[in-house]
């Protein structure tokens, strides 16, 4: 869903996201909504990286959800990739009104168990925010890029 109250939302997400990053010891974290709007980010140094990861996360989320439906799975929990030096965790984050996407990249300083544990806490904290109790309009393919860029305007590391 496209959010028109982005500045308020970004502000409300700062504390839970910062807590998640601090406690889970992830190097990079990104929170995106289904429309591709970037709601929070940590660890990126360039805005185009944020945009690339946000687009890929939204696409991966759609693919994973479609795959879950095809295999009659009620939902998908998370995707995990264990690289040699870095590990990637991508998961849907459920709120009362919309599903967000969390991307976390971490190294040997953390672990999948720790990231999962604090992701669950992050989900609870965000779901309890009053900002996620109001329904908003959906987006379409034509507006996806506009929504993605709108999110970056508030969060760009280059600014």
């Amino acid at each position: 869903m496209r959010r028109t109250d982005l500045p308020l939302l970004v502000e409300a997400l700062k504390v839970p996201m910062l807590t998640f990053v601090r406690e889970s010891r992830v190097r990079i974290a990104l929170l995106v909504n289904g429309a591709g709007q970037v709601l929070a980010q940590h660890g990126f140094t360039r805005s185009y990286e944020v945009m690339n990861v946000a687009s890929l996360a939204a696409a991966t989320h759609s693919s994973a959800r479609a795959l879950a439906e095809l295999t009659a799975a009620p939902r998908w929990e998370h995707l995990y990739h264990g690289g040699k030096d870095r590990q990637l965790f991508l998961a849907p984050l459920r709120t009362p009104v919309e599903e967000l996407i969390v991307v976390a990249i971490f190294d040997a300083d953390s672990s999948l168990g720790i990231v999962q544990l604090f992701y669950e806490q992050l989900e609870k904290e965000i779901a309890a925010l009053p900002e996620f109790r109001v329904t908003y309009e959906g987006t379409d393919q034509a507006n996806f890029e506009r929504d993605l860029e709108a999110g970056l305007e508030y969060l760009s590391p280059d600014q």
């Binding site: 672990s111 999948l112 168990g113 544990l117």
Partner: protein, 115 residues
């Protein structure tokens, strides 16, 4: 192999005062097998205990004390004991009045049986 894991955890959980025993993947911090009392979150204990164990191992190494074999945490209501078992960490949750010597002995026996 999974029988060996299950047997190790079952033996540990039979010790008086033990409220839970887990084998945890040391790198991922995820439970491999567990026997837990009701209300104990295996995933949370596995993630946090393995993270703490790895940090403590780093501290031991930095202090020049070498490999960490056992970590014992004492809290108001009980103890958490973690023992190195190679790619696994054995985590035991014990009540305050548990026979800690026996718990440690069984945990080390379990580590040897898994090696």
């Amino acid at each position: 192999m999974s029988d060996v894991y299950t047997e190790a955890v079952e033996r540990l959980s039979r010790v008086n005062g033990v409220r839970g025993a887990l084998l945890v993947d040391a790198e991922a911090g995820l439970p491999v097998t567990s026997e837990l009392a009701e209300g104990v979150s295996g995933t949370a204990v596995a993630a946090l205990a393995s993270s703490l164990f790895r940090r403590t191992a780093q501290a031991s190494d930095a202090a020049g004390y070498g490999r960490l074999a056992t970590m014992q945490l004492e809290a108001d209501e009980g103890h958490v004991i973690a023992v190195d078992a190679g790619e696994l960490i054995i985590v035991v949750i014990a009540a305050r009045d548990a026979q800690l010597g026996l718990v440690r002995l069984e945990a080390h026996r379990a580590a040897e049986s898994l090696a």
